[in-house]
């Protein structure tokens, strides 16, 4: 079958969203994965955006932003940030979220704030590279019952320790997260262009649990910046079914996921 690695990733992430759940998607990849799920199998999901766009299905392809007109054309409710990110997400009410990441470490901490020359320096210096800032990902990572991280699998992104924790995962691992009274349980899985990682019980270190027909365990280890452990029951992730691909492409009208990969 002919599909890109981005398409495989979006479908793999979408498969983790279940019918009836309350779900929040960010812009870009995560919105495509979420709306693929909504169309394909997660019927009756209660999906919303950070800005409080409720009940909408994108028209004309991937929205340019999470309140873009492509996602605003058929909404049933428009509210606001404190409503959606506060009362629905931070409150602990939301079942599942999907976020992206510029940098991820082995405990699922995410950096979307900046890259530093000397990340070990505790003092705050101007970043070598300014990223976009955390956005609403901290609400999703602190408070969604579970969440999915999606990222292109590159060695420079998957690092031992992120330069800056924008959105907390399992922090220093183990039960480090427990000292905060977060309403959410932490990252459930990381879905990449090459495979799927899930946290090992007790340590909460992410380990490889799935690879694709288009990748290999070796390729994934080579492209990961920490010494990635492989789960004893690591599995080959099923390829997209024709119906899945059809539904994904109906959402990804502008072909964003087919551009590279």
């Amino acid at each position: 079958m002919n599909y890109t690695r981005q398409e495989m990733m979006a479908i793999a992430a979408g498969r983790e969203i279940y019918a009836g759940e309350m779900a929040i998607f960010g812009v870009g990849l995560s919105m495509l994965a979420g709306h693929f799920a909504k169309r394909n199998h997660a019927f009756g999901i209660k999906d919303l955006t950070e800005g409080g766009v409720y009940g909408a299905t994108p028209v004309g392809g991937l929205p340019w932003g999470i309140e873009d007109n492509r996602i605003s054309a058929n909404a049933t409710s428009f509210t606001h940030c404190i409503d959606a990110l506060g009362m629905m997400v931070a409150s602990g009410r939301c079942d599942v979220g999907i976020i992206g990441a510029a940098q991820i470490d082995k405990y699922g901490n995410v950096n979307t704030t900046g890259l530093w020359e000397e990340p070990a320096n505790p003092a705050y210096l101007p970043p070598k590279t300014r990223l976009s800032g955390s956005g609403g990902a901290p609400e999703i990572t602190c408070s969604c019952k579970r969440y999915i991280i999606m990222a292109a699998h590159e060695k420079k992104r998957f690092v031992e320790k992120v330069d800056y924790i924008s959105s907390p995962g399992y922090l220093s691992g183990g039960d480090a997260r427990a000292r905060y009274n977060f309403h959410g349980g932490g990252p459930a899985l990381i879905v990449t262009t090459l495979g799927i990682m899930r946290p090992e019980p007790v340590t909460n270190e992410f380990i490889l649990t799935g690879y694709y027909h288009s990748s290999s365990i070796e390729e994934i280890k080579e492209n990961t910046g920490w010494d990635l452990k492989v789960a004893p029951d690591v599995q080959l992730v099923p390829e997209p079914s024709p119906r899945e691909l059809e539904n994904l492409r109906a959402v990804d009208q502008t072909g964003m996921l087919r551009k590279k990969g």
């Binding site: 812009v27 800005g51 340019w64 932003g65 309140e67 873009d68 007109n69 509210t79 609400e139 924790i165």
Partner: protein, 327 residues
């Protein structure tokens, strides 16, 4: 009561100054921000700004590229699918502009605390990370105990993190429609424009359309910004361009990239300023700069029907000019 209509030039001259705390946006990155107001600030040469920008892309990008910004407080400074803002990057990476980061919700809650005049606002997310421990405004303090400190919840004995309030000097807020008194309707998500309109000491509205007050009396539940909190109203159609205004026009894909690329270098900024800021003075000139064909294309939006109920109250340019002269 005189109406509150002001020209863009007057509004910027009267309500902005060097060194001020200026808030804009309170909408999403490629959404309804007061971009035209920001262009006029650049033209009038404002500098040393402390900008509260959540989470608006191109205006902050432009102000940073102009070297006008000392400090930014934000939660998201990207351009969503359009990528990273190069003007901001250049300013931040060079150390010219420093950025204090919070999460999206926590930025909104800081505005809520400002609007309520609370000493602080509780947070249940957006800490336990470097957002709590590191502060760009207090770089030498690590962990920075003052950025998102803890108090003891007297009901349970557990700790609770709290946020400091934001009370900007002036907010320039984009709305879809305003009446001449400053009652305003926003179509699309509010993001946190509602909270900002109550947190700021002064509020200037930038409106795509001016409508008769009869529209507000038909739809009072839509008027989330009432005249009592508004100081001035600027009529500026297509004022969000190249970003989108729900119900009216889409974002301008081509110009979004073009503008952002221009911000990469001082030369690019200068050229952009000459072509897209200094090149117009009136609304008609501004619209000519965008171009009629482009405007028609942008107005071919899937949200166009959302404006249908309100069209009959839209005031013409002539009526608006008459109201401004008549005071």
């Amino acid at each position: 009561m005189p109406n509150k209509l002001l020209s863009m030039q007057e509004a910027v001259a009267q309500y902005t100054w060097d060194g001020m705390q200026y808030a804009h946006g309170a909408s999403l990155s490629v959404g309804p921000d007061s971009v035209a107001f920001g262009r006029e600030m650049v033209r009038q040469g404002r500098k040393n700004l402390h900008v509260m920008s959540h989470c608006c892309g191109q205006q902050l990008n432009l102000l940073c590229a102009a070297g006008a910004v000392d400090r930014v407080e934000t939660a998201f400074s990207g351009l969503e699918v359009y990528g990273f803002p190069y003007g901001l990057r250049r300013a931040v990476e060079s150390g010219r502009t420093i950025v204090e980061d919070y999460s999206n919700l926590n930025f909104s809650l800081r505005l809520l605390a400002g609007a309520m005049n609370w000493p602080f606002c509780p947070a249940v997310s957006g800490y336990g990370s470097d957002q709590e421990w590191r502060s760009a405004f207090s770089p030498e303090e690590y962990p920075c105990d003052k950025k998102i400190p803890e108090v003891m919840d007297p009901f349970t004995g557990k700790t609770c993190h709290v946020l400091s309030p934001l009370k900007p000097d002036v907010a320039a807020i984009h709305v879809t429609m305003a009446d001449p008194d400053g009652n305003a309707i926003m179509l699309g998500t509010e993001w946190n424009r509602y909270e900002l309109s109550r947190a700021a000491k002064k509020v200037v509205l930038q409106a795509d359309l001016i409508v008769d007050t009869a529209c507000m009396r038909q739809y009072p539940n839509l008027v989330r910004i009432p005249d009592v909190v508004v100081d001035a109203v600027v009529y500026w159609p297509l004022g969000v361009w190249p970003q989108c205004s729900t119900g009216l026009y889409d974002s301008d894909e081509e110009h979004m990239y073009y503008m952002n690329n221009a911000m990469k270098t001082p030369e690019g900024f200068d050229e952009y300023k000459q072509k897209y800021i200094d090149s117009y003075h009136t609304i008609d000139e501004y619209l000519a700069v965008i171009g009629k064909g482009k405007i028609n294309k942008l107005q071919d939006t899937a949200t166009w029907h959302l404006m249908d109920p309100y069209r009959k109250w839209i005031m013409s340019s002539e009526e608006i000019v008459k109201l401004m002269d008549g005071r």
